[in-house]
Symmetry: C2
Subunit: 403 residues, 2 copies
């Protein structure tokens, strides 16, 4: 994409009403816009990153064999009354609304109740199990505090996965596979080395759970590392004995639900005709929270440093001075190789272009200036390195296709 | 995908609480689930179709040069008060909700106000124009009636596009290109020959508009065809003189907004430094409404007949009797060619498999039965034809890659 066509612009100054690093950098770079506290829009560069994160999660969910669906945000009161989660005293972050023709509705903060109810029609025998479903769906949570940028918001897309098995043993097998899937997701997103599988309590969902916690000072939780090699930890909320804690943010969680939510709806008959409740699990990741965490963990004083798999573009091509003919040619050739390029074709000073490139944080910068024209070599600099290299376009394409 | 793994099942009986053909067929075939009147979940087959429709629209929006964003559903009261669209007497289908820490919010029924407000920071000069932005975003509308299945719902993903130009002449140029883009979208979705560019009133949005109306008895509008060759019509609401009317459903609309919504926010300076309001247009398509319309228009007494570009799978492979070895082989080979296949590997009678295939409506049915094993030829039948053909797998792959 040509940067001259991009409607967003970077800003030098931090927005006055933001305190979190992720919101400041993402706003300055033109990735997001704040509608109100805890509610953000995703602008073109920001939506590209969000969709890359969603794409990685979707691939891993499909590899796990889960089937994608999309449930509604508007939810019926009755379904939540049956499990005693409708009352604001029981769940303190509901948004509720009214139907014109009467009746109160909830705005989805999660989907255990509706998914169990929906699936009832498809499950009657052990032959219908096991299976798992997931969605990328907008959740609403009426948060009192909302000062962590896109890491804790009142409206966000969540990936929620639900598993349905005949018993705890079968569930445990899937649960272990889900753990590995989550590990892979966070590794691909570039935060695997800072992310710990953490024992935690289950909140209003279940007795026990595991969280994936990424170490950052921006986190709201405290974890104790129990095994550095295996990247395992325990949340302070369940084990307060240890001393050396780290601040961390929960980027994912996995719950053993058991039969709590299947009890009103989801039953199956075994081979002998005996009825049982389906054994459930649920597994969440908030793509925008992950995006915010990546910014918190991978940025420097100049701006963001996106990992390759989630970057809005793979290459930032910068044309300096009067070299647009050569730059256009490089742009066309990179695009022909299916390499995603943001091409800074603006009529602006070199210093401004470099500062914007550092702020936006695309992994590989390619500069077309006097040096390039003289030598037929391109000046290449990785965002996470100080050193520039000179190489031919063919060499660059070869390097990019390897990574 | 193997049909034995799909968690949904077809049903023989129509759901008791549905009157519209699209809801009945899509529910029977396992594409959707009703949460309440006017609120539906998309199950795996249904989400695949919805995403195909979204994919076609996204391609055409990108071709038009529009930039994709994602705005919030939660909206600030103040933005709507400025244009006098907050009051329920002015807009009769608002859903509203309350923040825990005080203050009323709206749930998005459209985005003219928030988008104008968001863009204010990026537009100051004529050099910042023209541009256009679009999103696939969840809208909420508090409909009193909701009896048209997925064609009129209380919660739905909408593609809304907004254009920003320096004046009416520049706007008109974009508007004409948007018309062509919409034509192409409905042609690709298989309903182009029944869809008319229709003059209409602008509702609460603008003085004038054009609708794309698809002729079907399930429609709520009446249109008069003014030019059959050019596929042009006029809505009864603006021209009641003519006699031969057709029932039709609005599958898309395009509005010239002018400066109504830019007036409070979006201004630019021309070359002489004089200030003007930005000239706006907005352009909507509801992917689920299009999906429902396709079912209304393209179905028979046996089930749905999906056009190729929006079908959940391209091929329905059906294994009969004891021929799973050959069927597995065909399944692998089709997948290796990147052809999307639903493989009916279930242990079920031929009659049940054929009835399900007709109901689900995948374009090309491939049967592996005794005939196939004897002759090494596959039995191929298009969903929209009565005649079966015998051909080799290589021939089939060749035919599919051409279409």
């Amino acid at each position: 994409m040509k940067q001259s066509q991009l409607f967003t612009k970077t800003r030098r100054e931090a927005p006055a009403d933001e305190v979190s690093k992720n919101a400041i950098l993402l706003t300055r770079a033109g990735f997001i816009n704040k509608e109100m506290a805890g509610v953000y829009d995703f602008l073109p560069l920001g939506l590209r990153v969000l969709n890359k994160i969603i794409g990685i999660i979707r691939e891993e969910m499909n590899t796990l064999g889960a089937q994608e669906i999309l449930m509604s945000s508007l939810q019926r009161k009755e379904l939540w009354q049956r499990t005693d989660r409708w009352d604001d005293a029981k769940v303190d972050n509901w948004f509720k609304t009214q139907l014109k023709d009467g009746g109160e509705l909830g705005l989805a903060f999660t989907h255990e109740e509706p998914i169990s109810n929906t699936l009832e029609q498809f499950v009657s025998s052990y032959k219908d199990l096991p299976f798992s479903v997931y969605q990328f769906q907008t959740k609403f949570r009426n948060e009192a505090r909302a000062k962590s940028g896109i890491m804790r918001t009142r409206e966000f897309i969540m990936k929620d996965l639900y598993s349905f098995n005949i018993d705890e043993a079968a569930h445990q097998n899937f649960y272990e596979r889900a753990k590995e899937s989550y590990r892979k997701i966070f590794n691909r997103m570039g935060i695997g080395d800072k992310t710990y599988l953490t024992e935690a309590s289950g909140g209003s969902f279940s007795a026990r759970s595991h969280e994936f916690q990424t170490i950052t000072d921006a986190g709201e939780d405290t974890i104790f590392i129990t095994n550095e090699g295996k990247k395992e930890a325990v949340n302070k909320e369940v084990d307060d004995r240890q001393e050396a804690g780290h601040k961390a943010v929960e980027v994912g969680n996995i719950f053993t639900l058991g039969t709590k939510f299947s009890d009103p709806y989801l039953k199956f008959k075994d081979q002998a005709g005996k009825e049982h409740n389906v054994f459930m699990g649920s597994y969440g990741i908030g793509p925008a929270r992950v995006m915010g965490t990546i910014v918190e963990v991978l940025s420097d004083e100049k701006g963001i440093i996106w990992p390759k798999e989630v970057a809005p573009f793979r290459v930032h091509l910068i044309s300096l001075g009067q070299h647009s003919v050569l730059a256009n040619e490089v742009y066309q050739k990179l695009q022909a190789e299916n390499i995603e390029v943001l091409y800074d074709d603006r009529d602006a000073r070199a210093g401004e272009k470099f500062a914007d490139a550092d702020l936006i944080g695309i992994p590989t910068r390619v500069v077309i200036g006097d040096k390039a024209l003289e030598s037929k070599m391109l000046e290449i600099k990785e965002r996470n390195s100080e050193d520039a290299k000179m190489m031919t376009l063919e060499h660059l394409i070869n390097e990019l296709s390897k990574s």
